[in-house]
C-alpha cells in the first residue's frame, strides 16, 4: 500500500472509531439518585479517533514492512526439516532454562530480604493461578478440550474442604485428597455425557455447568450458606503443630517447636510452600504423563480424533481421564484456597475466574510450562504494581486474548517437545 492509501484507510478507521466512541465514550451517564443524568465528554471521542488513526497507520505500515521482508516463500517440500519459528524456539528454551531458574527463585523467595508478609502472600496468589493454569493445561493444552467451567472444580474442592472442616472437623491434610477425589468424581459425572460433543459445543456446555454450580452455591443456603459463604474454615497446621501465638494447653505451637518468636508470617510462609509443592506436583505429573500412553493419546486426540478411533483408542474414556485429572488438580487448588482464606463464598467462583484461567493457558502458550507461569504472574502482579491498571486489567486481558488468537493462536511461548526420540533409544534386539 502506498502512504496515501494507508492514510485514507487510517482516516476511515478513525471515523469508525469516532462513531463507535460517540454513544458510549462521548456521553457519560451520571447517577443522580433520581432520573439518569447525562454529561458530554466529546474530547474522549477525539482521543479515541486519534488512537485508532495512529494505531491503524502503524499497523498497516508494519504489515507492509513485514511482508516485504518475508521475501520468497519457502518451497513447499523442502528436504531440510522445517525450522521452528522464533517464539517456538524461545518457548523451548524458556522451559529448559528459565523454568529451573524460576523454581529456584520460588523456593528461596520467602527468605529474600524484600519478602515481607504482603510479598509472600502475593506469591501465594500467583502460585494458586499457576497451579490452576497447569491443571487446565492438561484439559485444554494436552487433550484439546475447551473447558469454560473449570472454576466448578475449583469450587467443589473449596467447598468440600470447607464443609468437611465445618461439620466433621477435618483438617487440611485429611481433606486435601478428599477434595481432589470429589472434584475428580464431579469431573467424571460432568464429563461423561458431554465429552462426545464437538469442541465449541463442549465449551458452551461446560460454561453452562459452571454457571449452574455457581447459582446452586448461591441459593442452596442450607448446605452452602449461600452468599454469606462459609467462614471459620480450619487453617493449616504444621503437620499437627498449630500456628498460633497462644496454643491451647497441652499442644505445642509451631514457633515453640523450633524455638522461634511467634510471628504471623510463619503461617503465610508455610502456606506459600504448601502451594509451591502442590504446583510443582502438578507440573511434574504433567511432564510424566505426557510420556505415558494416556498422555500421548490426549495429544493424538487433540490432533485427530477420527484417526485415534481407527487406532483402537477409545476417545470418550481418554477424554474423561483428562477431564477428571484436570478436575482433581483444580480441586486441590480449591481446598488450598479455602484454607488460605479461612472463608469462601460463591463470588470467588464465577465465570470470570474460568475465563481468567483460560486466558492464562491461552496467552502463556499451550504446552509451555514457563509461559503459564509468566502469564499467571503478569495477571496477578500487574494490578498490584500499578494500582490504576487494576481497572483496566480485564479489559487488557480480553484484548490480549483476541490479539493472541490473531497473531499466535497456540499461545506466546507454545512449543511441543516430542515425548520420545528414536535417536535416544538403542535397539534392544527384539524386533517383530
Amino acid at each position: 500500500m502506498t502512504l496515501a492509501e494507508r492514510l485514507r484507510d487510517a482516516v476511515m478507521a478513525a471515523v469508525v472509531g469516532a462513531l463507535l466512541a460517540l454513544p458510549l465514550l462521548g456521553f457519560e451517564t451520571v447517577d443522580t439518585g433520581g432520573p439518569l443524568g447525562i454529561r458530554t465528554r466529546f474530547d474522549w471521542i477525539a482521543y479515541a479517533a486519534g488512537i485508532v488513526f495512529v494505531g491503524r497507520l502503524v499497523l498497516l505500515g508494519f504489515l507492509d514492512w513485514y511482508r516485504s521482508r518475508q521475501g520468497r516463500p519457502e518451497p513447499l517440500q523442502s528436504s531440510a526439516p522445517a525450522r521452528r519459528d522464533v517464539l517456538t524456539r524461545l518457548g523451548s528454551k524458556a522451559d529448559k532454562y528459565l523454568m529451573p531458574a524460576l523454581i529456584a527463585f520460588a523456593i528461596i523467595m520467602p527468605m529474600l530480604p524484600f519478602a515481607n508478609r504482603t510479598v509472600v502472600d502475593l506469591g501465594t496468589v500467583v502460585l494458586i493461578y499457576v497451579m490452576l493454569g497447569w491443571g487446565l493445561n492438561i484439559v485444554v493444552g494436552l487433550a484439546g478440550l475447551l473447558d469454560l467451567g473449570y472454576v466448578a472444580f475449583y469450587a467443589v474442592g473449596a467447598y468440600s474442604y470447607a464443609l468437611l472442616s465445618l461439620h466433621f472437623g477435618f483438617g487440611f491434610w485429611e481433606s486435601l485428597p478428599l477434595a481432589g477425589l470429589f472434584a475428580a468424581t464431579f469431573g467424571m459425572i460432568l464429563g461423561f455425557p458431554v465429552l462426545r460433543l464437538r469442541g465449541d459445543y463442549l465449551a458452551i456446555v461446560t460454561l453452562g455447568f459452571g454457571e449452574i454450580i455457581r447459582i446452586v452455591l448461591l441459593n442452596w443456603t442450607e448446605v452452602t450458606r449461600g452468599s454469606n459463604g462459609i467462614s471459620g474454615i480450619q487453617r493449616p497446621s504444621f503437620f499437627g503443630f498449630p500456628f498460633s501465638a497462644d496454643p491451647p494447653d497441652g499442644t505445642t505451637a509451631f514457633h515453640q517447636l523450633f524455638g522461634l518468636e511467634y510471628a504471623s508470617i510463619h503461617r503465610i510462609i508455610f502456606l506459600y510452600y504448601v502451594i509451591l509443592v502442590l504446583a510443582l506436583i502438578t507440573n511434574f505429573f504433567t511432564m510424566r504423563i505426557r510420556k505415558l500412553p494416556v498422555g500421548r493419546a490426549w495429544e493424538a486426540l487433540r490432533e485427530d480424533e477420527i484417526a485415534c478411533k481407527a487406532l483402537g483408542i477409545n476417545p470418550t474414556n481418554t477424554k474423561l481421564t483428562a477431564f477428571a485429572i484436570g478436575a482433581m488438580f483444580g480441586g486441590f487448588a480449591g481446598a488450598f484456597f479455602a484454607t488460605r482464606q479461612g472463608f469462601i463464598s460463591p463470588e470467588s467462583f464465577s465465570f470470570i475466574e474460568s475465563a481468567v484461567i483460560l486466558a492464562i493457558v491461552v496467552l502463556g502458550g499451550m504446552g509451555s510450562q514457563a509461559g503459564i507461569v509468566l502469564a499467571a504472574a503478569f495477571l496477578t502482579l500487574l494490578p498490584e504494581v500499578a494500582r490504576e491498571f487494576s481497572l483496566f486489567r480485564m479489559l487488557t486481558f480480553g484484548a490480549a486474548m483476541v490479539l493472541i488468537m490473531i497473531w499466535r493462536p497456540q499461545g506466546l511461548l507454545a512449543h511441543r517437545e516430542p515425548t520420545i526420540r528414536l535417536a535416544e533409544r538403542p535397539q534392544t534386539g527384539g524386533a517383530a
Binding site: L36, V216, G398
Partner: protein, 304 residues
C-alpha cells in the same frame, strides 16, 4: 387461571426478546460455523445506547414518546450495527482459516473486552430509565388477580413478529438472502460464483446486531434498568434458545426464543425465581447432550 395467563403473556414477551437475540447467534453460526460469544455484549451495548439516546433526547427537550422511540430505534440500530461490524472485522475475519476453536476464544476475549469497556466508560452501577410507555389493557379480572396486557408488551410482540416476517422474507427472497444461503452451504463455491463472501458475512453480523439493538431497546423500556452484565445472561439464554430451536435455523431461533421465554416465566412463577437461570442453562446442557441439532435443525454428517 388468571395468574397462568399473565405468565403466558409475560413469557411470550420475554420470548420475543430472546428470539431477536437468538437470530443473531443462529445466522452467524449458519454462515461461518462459529458461536459469536460476544453477541450478548452487542445486545447490552444496544441497550446502553438506547438509554443514552433517550437521556440525550431528554436533555435537548424532545420528549414526545413516539418520535423519541423512532429516533432512538434508528440511532441504536445503526450504531449497534457498527459495533457488530467492527467486532467481526477485528476479531473474527482474521481467524477464518484458523483452527476451529480460535474464533470462539477470540469471541470470549471480545466479550470480556466489551463488558469491561462499557463498565469503565459508564460506571458499574445500574442505569435507570423513566418508564415511557405506561398503561395497558385489562383482559380479564378474577378475584385476586387481573390479567393485563400492557401496551409495551403489545408493541414488543408486534414489532418482533414484524421483524421476523421481514427477516424471513429477506432470507428467502432477496439477493442478500440468497447470497447468505449460498455461503452457508459452500463458501468457496459461492465465492467462485461471484458472491462477495466478506460482505455477505459482514452483513450477517450487522443484521444480527440490528436485531440485538431492537432487543436492547425493548429491554430498556420493559425493565427500566440496564447494567453492563445483562449481556452475559441474556446472551447465554438466547444462545440456548438458538440451540433448542436448532442452530442454523431461523424459524428454530424464533421457536426456541419463545420456548425459553415461556419456560423462564413459568419456572420463576411456579417454582422459584432464584433458580430460573438454572432452568435455562439446564435446558442448554440437556439439548446439547441429547439432541444437539435441536428441534428444527438438520443433522451434520462429518465426511471421513
Amino acid at each position: 387461571m388468571e395468574y397462568f395467563l399473565q405468565q403466558l403473556i409475560n413469557g411470550v414477551t420475554l420470548g420475543a426478546v430472546y428470539a431477536l437475540i437468538a437470530i443473531g447467534y443462529t445466522m452467524v453460526y449458519g454462515i461461518i460455523g462459529m458461536i459469536n460469544f460476544a453477541h450478548g455484549e452487542i445486545y447490552m451495548i444496544g441497550a446502553f445506547i438506547a438509554v443514552i439516546s433517550f437521556s440525550v433526547l431528554g436533555l435537548v427537550g424532545l420528549t414526545w414518546v413516539p418520535l423519541a422511540l423512532l429516533i432512538v430505534l434508528i440511532v441504536s440500530m445503526l450504531l449497534t450495527g457498527l459495533y457488530g461490524w467492527t467486532v467481526e472485522r477485528i476479531a473474527y475475519r482474521p481467524l477464518r482459516g484458523s483452527f476451529r476453536l480460535a474464533p470462539l476464544i477470540s469471541a470470549i476475549g471480545m466479550s470480556i473486552f466489551l463488558q469491561n469497556y462499557v463498565q469503565i466508560a459508564q460506571g458499574a452501577r445500574i442505569k435507570p430509565l423513566q418508564p415511557m410507555i405506561r398503561g395497558g389493557i385489562e383482559l380479564m379480572s378474577g378475584e385476586t388477580f387481573s390479567v393485563t396486557l400492557s401496551y409495551l408488551q403489545i408493541i414488543i410482540i408486534v414489532l418482533t413478529v414484524l421483524l421476523m416476517a421481514a427477516f424471513s422474507w429477506l432470507i428467502a427472497s432477496t439477493s442478500l438472502g440468497r447470497a447468505q444461503r449460498a455461503c452457508e452451504q459452500d463458501r468457496t463455491m459461492a465465492a467462485l460464483l461471484g458472491v462477495n463472501v466478506d460482505r455477505t458475512i459482514s452483513l450477517t453480523f450487522v443484521l444480527g446486531a440490528f436485531l440485538a439493538a431492537v432487543a436492547g431497546l425493548m429491554t430498556t423500556l420493559y425493565y427500566g434498568v440496564v447494567d453492563f452484565y445483562i449481556g452475559f445472561l441474556a446472551g447465554l439464554k438466547a444462545f440456548t434458545a438458538a440451540v433448542l430451536g436448532g442452530i442454523g435455523s431461523l424459524p428454530g431461533a424464533m421457536l426456541g426464543g419463545l420456548l425459553i421465554g415461556l419456560i423462564e416465566a413459568f419456572w420463576a412463577a411456579y417454582f422459584s425465581s432464584e433458580y430460573k437461570d438454572v432452568a435455562a442453562f439446564s435446558i442448554l446442557v440437556i439439548v446439547l447432550i441429547f439432541r444437539p441439532t435441536g428441534l428444527l435443525g438438520r443433522p451434520e454428517v462429518e465426511k471421513v
